[in-house]
Amino acid sequence: MIDKDVLERTLSRALHNGGDFAEVFAEDRVNSSARLEDGRIEELTSGRDRGAGVRVIVGEATGYAHTTDLTEDGLRSAAEVAAAAARGGGGVRDVALERRPVTPAPIAIRPEDVAKADKVELLRRGESAARAGGSSIKQVMVSVANNRRRILVANSDGLLAEDDATRTRFMVQCVAAGDTGMQTGHEIVSATRGWELFDDRSPESIGEEAARRALLKLAARPAPSGSLPVVIAAGIGGVLFHEACGHGLEADLVDKDASVFAGRMGQQVASPLVTLVDDGTPLGEWGHLAIDDEGHPSMRNVLIDGGVLTGYMWDHIRAGKHARGPSGNGRRQTYRHLPMVRMTNTYLLAGEGDPEDLIASTPRGVYVKQLTGGQVNTATGDFVFGMGESYLIEDGRITEPLRESNLIGNGPDVLRTIDAVAGDLEMAGGGGMCGKDGQSVPVGVGQPTLRVPAMTIGGTAS
């Protein structure tokens, strides 16, 4: 994307006022999306964003500026603005870059090679399958989006690394109407893959699933209000750990004492059944990274091992401050943003036993099949997440479906009290976007079926 000698001169320029560290991050992202609504191909959109950001760090202070001009002049201006924030001694420092080998995730069918007419056909197949759910399905929206993101990172430690990643996301949303009003259902499939994604998940299966959820909710009763045992299904349930403790294990929040997990390293913070990892390496997963946005290879980091806190997640600044190596968690939304500590794919390792037994041994409670996003206050550990598809458990059997509501809990309490973890680890097929301080990045989650003996369910039924 940019010549090595241009990068070397830009980095030297960035440090001409003094400074401990300088970095160039360049990005070239091509987005494409198509949407079908009400039987009409409403929109095909395509676009490209390309630019570079220059970061200069002096002591605890960071200067950052970016440009869409990738010529040497453009980079030099950005370097000067960033360096202005870093007022120090001055002097000349030469930077010699060494290219690191990176293997981008293999893509079998590049989305940009798929004809637009074929993309449109895929949307129609998803729609027909959803409509086949019956006349109660009143609205169907189908969308497909893909992006190709090429990045380059060069820094004054001599690191030079590039990656080329492709992500694809397919979503069907349905509105169903019945005697109880309108309800919605959706299904999302997303991966760091190309069009080969649809060899494993047909558009029909995605459409059917969205329609099934919307129809199910027409017959759902209001969720209970108050504290009950909760069994969370394998897969998307991993959002629980993302919210309950993932954010609290990000080193920037730990460093600012804005996490209930600060100062707890080596302590028992969870049930011995809990072993939690954050792992950017699995190919194809939505949160897969060959390298993070600071140029470091992604890694498998064990955060909690048998209930004992064993690791936080790190970016360049925090790792440097604690004199330790990177963990591959320095990420940013685009070249316009500063990197910070972010999760990749966060999942709980499998326990033992049959998920069926876990339900059978719960006399009364709630079974959560689909979670829809959540939010945490890392300082207190209190978190919420939405139950998109959930059922009542009565006498050890799954009975009636429930309307949407939020679950609320406290991360440390939930971790300590988890009393059963089954052996059926699954990754969620449709990862989401995680927001933090105004930046949004793709993250994956996963877990086996598990039970929390008591969580507060925010419904309206007594």
Binding site: V175, L253, D382, N406
Partner: protein, 449 residues
């Protein structure tokens, strides 16, 4: 030549390339955001984010195509126009597709960007961020740290030109000061944030962000989980504003026409308590979101959504207006990377006549909701069901009492509007431009122990 004229010239150049039978629209925007963050009096970071891009719409034979480029480079612009044309080929024809036409409405007279804010020095930005932090830390010795103390200022310019005769530019400046504060008592830590926004340096209250955050965090120390029950809640203006934004989103043309609004087909009916009057008014110069034109280049106007409890109508873009057999209400929202669609630009709740103390007295016993979490995952804007996490304080005998946490409130957006029993008299402007006030709502399910 000023910057807005340069942007307009670029947009006009694209539009001049329209072929016979084609409608072409170019939306060009450019912005500069500078953020200074401090920590313990020292600079944590200074970021300068400049952004420029163009979005191009092409409509031919009722088919619409769109493409964008995050750059104003001539090659990128040319390739966006070619892509937009190509994308149009695959779209389904729709008679309602088409660009806005000038409709004779005169744009409101708003002050342009503040020169003093545009020229602010970096040292001053750092000083203002420090003032936010100092104000928070000085509130109480239990304020032990900050997750962040930031100052941010933005200068934004945009231009729209169409082959149907639209030629407009807009320019604005604004600033925000934000504090995210930690209060500690023994092992317990509570976090809260405070924010202040404005359009000019002449009206600065950055300390308010720090003290507000500090007071909110302190108020939560010692919070416990309340008993589940049905209660009257009093929503802090920030919380009320978040709910108003969700309600506003159900009253936009695209959502209504696609059968995704619980309020479709209810124009003229009483959908809220008579105390409730809600408008979308980007022409109000006191709103931080005030603007002269919408995303399609039409002059903005005041649109009443709910008048004394009665649903008056919806917000429309050119497309949704035509689809509904109505004119656009100049409510198209967009950025360069997206097509315009109907949306809210400056929601404002008409204030009531009770002070917060009077509302608490009227309510007697209930819950003061200071913050909500999981608003988006917990609200279904189609069915109207909502369930969100809350922190706040109990209201006992008409006064604020012990703090609460780890609880949720649930109802439906439809019920909530009908169950409003008081609206506060103090107007609060939120980031994003919503004009809000405290709201008291009865019959809400509180889930806790």
């Amino acid at each position: 030549m000023s910057n807005d004229n340069q942007l307009l010239a670029l947009a006009e150049k694209v539009v001049a390339d329209a072929r016979g039978g084609e409608q072409v629209e170019a939306f060009v925007s450019q912005s500069r955001r500078t953020t200074a963050k401090v920590r313990r009096g020292e600079v944590e970071s200074i970021e300068q984010a400049t952004s420029a891009g163009i979005g191009i719409r092409v409509v031919v034979d009722g088919r619409q195509g769109f493409a964008y480029a995050g750059s104003l480079d001539p090659d990128a612009v040319a390739s966006a126009l070619a892509d937009a044309r190509d994308n149009a080929i695959f779209a389904t024809p729709d008679e309602a597709n088409g660009l806005a036409h000038p409709d004779g409405v005169t744009p409101v007279d708003l002050p342009g960007p503040d020169d003093a804010l545009a020229a602010i020095a970096t040292d001053r930005r750092v000083e203002l961020a420090r003032a936010v932090e100092r104000a928070a830390l000085a509130t109480d010795r239990r304020i032990t740290g900050m997750r962040s103390a930031d100052w941010s200022d933005v200068l934004a310019t945009s231009a729209v030109a169409t082959s149907t005769g639209i030629r407009v530019t807009d320019s604005a400046s604004f600033w925000s000061a934000m504090a995210d504060v930690l209060a500690t008592d023994g092992d317990e830590v509570q976090e809260a944030y405070g924010v202040r926004v404005g359009r000019t340096l002449a009206h600065l209250d950055v300390e308010g962000a720090g003290t507000e955050a500090a007071e909110k965090a302190l108020a939560l120390l010692g919070a416990t989980q309340p008993e589940s029950r049905r209660v009257t809640v009093v929503l802090d203006p920030h919380v009320a504003g978040s709910f108003l934004a969700l309600i506003g989103a159900t009253m936009v043309g695209d959502t209504v026409l696609k059968g995704r609004s619980p309020f479709a087909d209810r124009v003229g009916e009483a959908i809220a308590a008579p105390l409730v009057t809600l408008a979308d008014d980007p022409t109000d110069a006191s709103s931080p979101a005030a603007g002269r034109h919408d995303g399609e280049g039409l002059a903005t106007r005041r649109n009443t959504l709910i008048g004394a409890g009665v649903l008056q109508g919806f917000l429309h873009s050119t497309w949704s207006g035509r689809k509904a057999g109505l004119a656009s209400t100049a409510s198209a929202v967009r950025d360069y990377a997206s097509t315009p669609h109907a949306g809210t630009q400056g929601l404002a709740l008409a204030t009531g006549d009770l002070t917060l103390e009077q509302i608490l007295e009227q309510v007697g016993d209930g819950i003061w909701v200071q913050s909500v979490s999981g608003l988006h995952s917990g609200t279904n804007t189609v069915s109207g069901d909502f369930s969100v996490g809350v922190t706040g304080r109990a209201i006992r005998s008409g006064a604020l009492a012990e703090p609460i946490r780890e609880a949720t409130i649930a109802s439906t957006l439809q019920r909530m509007l009908l169950d409003v029993v008081a609206v506060g008299s103090e107007r609060v402007w939120l980031p994003g431009g919503t004009g809000s006030a405290a709201l008291a709502i009865e019959g809400v399910s509180l889930s806790g122990k």
